[in-house]
Symmetry: C2
Subunit: 253 residues, 2 copies
């Protein structure tokens, strides 16, 4: 069982045009094994970044993404308007920057809280359910977030989301692998690929919900049925033990 993630390397990464040598300066008493890279400069940067993220999170939450101006964020973070764009390449970039950690936490928690003794499909719905609940807290924000996450513009965010996806895929793949070892699932399907498939199904249906095409109830009901189909497969091998309780699947349009 390969465990989920080795979370984001060192926390911050700013604009990185710097390639300075890591000369252990005067002020730092190199305690422990680590070089204690904390000059005032680095500290200020981290503080500022934190202020920015906090300011943005509050404003996005209270006023909404579109309605929040970068000026306001800068003002509330007590920095110049230009400074903001030293930390995020664009407003959209900032959005991802602000919520990536929270999302990662939420998703990891979702896996942690998933009972190991539970039918696979219920585990899946449990995990996805928690993700959905997270997005349901602020649908407008979720919409904006998913729009940005779809296509990533900067290497930094690409990295962030790669980490996020690795966590999710890893988590689901673990569940699949466990089911395989238990003999519930056939062993010849790559758990990682299976995980990506299952997530894809979740994701597109999530978009449908957030896009307002599907009400939440129907979304979750259908999601379960669709996941069941993905698990059972389409091929006519054996009519086979239904892993899940049957539901009505009709309901056109």
């Amino acid at each position: 069982m390969f465990c989920a993630v080795a979370v984001t390397p060192k926390g911050g990464e700013v604009v990185e045009r710097t390639v300075k040598k890591v000369s252990a300066g005067r002020p730092a008493a190199a305690r422990g094994g680590e070089p204690a890279r904390t000059g005032r400069r680095e500290r200020n940067k981290q503080e500022k970044r934190a202020r920015i993220v906090e300011a943005a999170k509050e404003l996005f939450g209270s006023k909404g993404f579109a309605e929040t101006t970068t000026q306001e964020i800068a003002e509330r973070a007590d920095i110049g308007t230009g400074t903001l764009f030293l930390y995020a390449k664009s407003k959209e970039d900032l959005l991802v920057m602000v919520f990536k950690d929270e999302m990662l936490e939420t998703f990891l928690a979702a896996f942690r809280k998933t009972p190991a003794d539970m039918p696979f499909i219920d585990q899946l719905m449990h995990v996805f359910g928690m993700m959905i609940a997270y997005h349901a807290k602020d649908v407008e924000l979720a919409r904006a977030l998913l729009k940005e996450v779809t296509i990533l513009t900067t290497p930094e965010r690409r990295h962030d989301i790669r980490v996020l996806m690795r966590a999710i895929y890893g988590g689901i793949a673990d569940l699949v692998a466990t089911a395989q070892k238990a003999g519930t699932f056939r062993a010849d399907a790559d758990p990682r690929f299976a995980a990506e498939n299952l997530f894809a199904i979740y994701y597109l249906n999530l978009l449908g919900w957030l896009g307002g095409q599907t009400p939440k109830q129907k979304f979750m009901r259908d999601l379960r049925v669709k996941l069941a189909i993905a698990i059972e497969g389409l091929a006519a091998s054996a009519a086979a033990k239904p892993v899940t309780a049957k539901r009505k699947t009709g309901r056109k349009s």
Copy 2:
């Protein structure tokens, strides 16, 4: 076998604050069954719309989406800057407006050209392959397009995309239903749901490619394997006849 689509109702829909009665005016010699709704007004509007779409398409194609300004589009379409926004609510909206028809055509053609006598997975890869080829013609544009399509902002575009998705889902569902009738596939899975699953898999992997995380070769290779998994299913019912040629599935990122 329920057939693909009843394509977009009447072609244009503009801003529609109009609820005018369809009084059959003087100029129109109502030939055939149709009211021939062609006043000068309507004609001008359609012409203008066409000019806008053409201008935008050319500019987006040659300069790229981000690099094209709405001014330029208006200029080339020979209309005022404000007029543009009477036809599209935003630049992004325009993007979708411009390419929706072409996409629909491409996708319908993909289904039309798919041989009925072909293993299901090959049919799928054929269809998806044509879609991929379409996007490959201009990757930057495809990126922008998919980003916009992910979350739709106006009712008009929502409708457009609904039509598009209906075509795609309908097409895939037909293939599934045929395989079910042929006995290759189990009959108890809703073809529509199955279609949505398969498309979801395609779509997320498409995003991975367009996002630059996966090279095209790997994308298409993995896609096939993943679709195979979705077809075969995960559940251990019978180890079962492999519908597809086996491929190496290992290859950690």
